[in-house]
């Protein structure tokens, strides 16, 4: 019995993940709360970007409404933690995941029949609808938003966010690179008609991938709501969140397991550095725009491809060296 798998060496990939998580776990003992908050933000963005990579990079469907699931998660946690409900924080996360997953399945059923720009518009409309609903509904606090209980513990949020992002990475890696589900998803991305001819129920696979990609931001959104202690439609349902995570994935490497984490780290650090250096400025948008153009032109496979290029360059240098040696009398 020998089952196939792609996506490189699993021991290496999951080993790197364990090492990264272990190294980051030491951070609270080594640095100030400011850097802990930065690291928490990076973990959150890496997780959300990873989720978008599932539906776009692996399934080939561009979602411009992914912020909806982040917002649904944030609002679910915030609502359930209100004094009248008084839920435990941990209990709110599975509920957030289930609600976001159900919304994704419900919307995905008709929307995933659309292709390209039509699907992108449908998901964008979903995000707008969710934002409008939270603005007008009473139990979401309207435009005034909701507060969550204050927990003044940066380390707690750092470890929670890191664990959620790491688990999301491990689950996505195993499902998309090491299981037959991943091959089905990628087959749909590459050629839907051919995928059906291989016996793949493409409608079901697309919905499953969409649900998976919705659950992750919902959980991260729930953690974020507790972390930042106040949410409103502008903070957790802002379209800029989708824009940002799309850019992170493109910069990091679309359809690659490590791409979103790399892109999220690079862009979040860049954004933070600009904020520290120049205060709240729109220069970030200009720089990100230039960065996206540079990536599209010179690094279409994103930052992850740098390692491959470096390897190739090393190989070229070795070959040149060998040729010179052979040419030497």
């Amino acid at each position: 019995m020998s089952r196939p798998a792609s996506g490189g060496n699993p021991y290496l990939n999951l080993g790197v993940l364990v090492l990264v998580v272990a190294a980051l776990s030491l951070l609270p003992m080594m640095t100030t709360p400011y850097y802990i908050r930065i690291a928490t933000g990076i973990a959150m963005w890496a997780g959300i970007a990873l989720s978008w990579n599932v539906i776009c990079g692996y399934a080939g469907y561009i979602s411009f409404g992914h912020v909806a699931f982040f917002g649904i998660g944030a609002y679910t946690t915030a609502i359930l933690m209100q004094p009248q409900h008084d839920w435990n924080f941990w209990a709110t996360l599975p509920v957030a995941a289930v609600i976001a997953g159900a919304v994704a399945a419900l919307v995905g059923w008709p929307a995933l029949r659309l292709k390209g720009a039509y699907f992108a518009i449908a998901t964008w409309a979903l995000a707008e609808a969710v934002r409008e609903l939270t603005t007008i509904l009473k139990f979401t606090g309207g435009s005034g938003g909701l507060t969550t209980p204050i927990r003044n513990d940066d380390n707690f949020f750092f470890y929670t966010m890191l664990a959620a992002a790491a688990i999301a990475f491990a689950v996505c890696y195993v499902l998309l690179e090491r299981s037959r589900f991943g091959f089905r998803v990628k087959a749909v991305r590459d050629n839907e008609i051919a995928a059906r001819a291989q016996g793949i129920n493409t409608t079901l696979i697309k919905i499953e991938a969409f649900v998976l990609s919705a659950i992750i931001p919902a959980v991260l959104g729930g953690i974020n709501a507790y972390w930042i202690t106040f949410i409103n439609p502008q903070s957790v349902l802002n379209t800029i969140i989708t824009d940002q995570l799309v850019v992170m994935v493109l910069v990091g490497g679309l359809g690659h397991a490590w791409g979103p984490a790399l892109g999220a780290t690079a862009l979040f650090l860049l954004q933070e550095q600009l904020r520290v250096s120049y205060g709240e400025t729109t220069a970030y948008i200009i720089i990100v725009g230039a960065l996206v153009m540079a990536v599209v032109l010179f690094l279409p496979d994103g930052l992850v491809s740098l390692a491959r290029r470096a390897r190739r360059m090393r190989l070229v240098r070795q070959l040149i060296g060998r040729t010179r040696q052979e040419a030497t009398p």
Binding site: M1, P4, A187, I193, G199, I200
Partner: protein, 238 residues
């Protein structure tokens, strides 16, 4: 034993009758060629049989089971595999991964070993880890054939599978078809190459303007006046 039975199948696009009352049976381990001029309805017929298109009327039975109008993936799972007129590969996957993907609904547990065997049989081992998009046209058709081998279907529909393929690769492909046929697989083959049709087909069905105009052995159809008319434009009355 009748494996595939097509009864009075109709499909039109606007005012054009692409498939117009087609009826035929295919026996087990038979290789049936479907020939006809461009636009005669051959590929539409394949798309109807494989569930890509739904027929306006008529029935299709696979081993006595009515599969008319079933979703394409259900028909594939029922044992009907196919290749496409224009190779429909998973272009961002390697050759090996394309073969593995063909087994996701079938013998997944042995997919790795099966793929290695198919790669060797089709002489694709040297490009196994290359992206499918980098293959030559002939190799792409071989890879499509490889996916059919991985599925191990009861009935395989091959759409111009040898078109533009190098003679040596073509021989490899024909050997694979004959090998599968000897193991009991039934074939329906769309082909423009008469030499190839004569070489491998037990029976030929000739289509023109969506209808079957003749069927029989290659010898029989090559003297059929309807075929002469369809191919050479010579009126039947002459």
């Amino acid at each position: 034993m009748t494996v595939l039975a097509v009864d009075d199948l109709f499909r039109s696009f606007g005012g054009i009758h692409a498939v117009d009352g087609v009826t035929f049976d295919v026996e087990q381990a038979e290789i049936v060629g479907i020939i006809g001029p461009n636009g005669s309805g051959k590929s539409t017929l394949f798309n109807l049989l494989t569930g890509v298109l739904k027929p306006d009327a008529g029935t299709i039975s696979l081993f006595g089971r009515n599969i008319t109008g079933l979703a394409a993936f259900r028909i594939a799972r029922a044992g009907l595999g196919r290749t496409f007129q224009i190779p429909a590969l998973f272009v961002n996957m390697t050759v090996r991964e394309n073969l593995w993907t063909a087994a996701v609904q079938f013998d997944w547990d042995n997919a790795r070993a099966d793929a290695d065997a198919v790669l060797e049989r089709l002489e694709l081992t040297h490009v196994a880890d290359d992206l499918a998009s980098t293959l030559s046209g002939g190799q792409q058709r071989l890879l499509e054939m490889g996916r059919v081998l991985m599925q191990n279907p009861k009935v395989a529909l091959l759409d111009e599978v040898a078109a533009g393929v190098h003679p040596r690769l073509r021989q490899i492909m024909l050997d694979a078809i004959r090998g599968l046929r000897d193991a009991g697989t039934t074939f329906l083959v769309i082909e423009h190459d008469m030499e190839l049709a004569q070489d491998i087909c037990d029976r030929i069905i000739v289509m023109d303007a969506g209808k079957i105009v003749a069927q029989g052995s290659f010898e029989e159809i090559s003297h059929d006046p309807h075929v002469m008319e369809a191919y050479l434009g010579v009126p039947t009355s002459e």
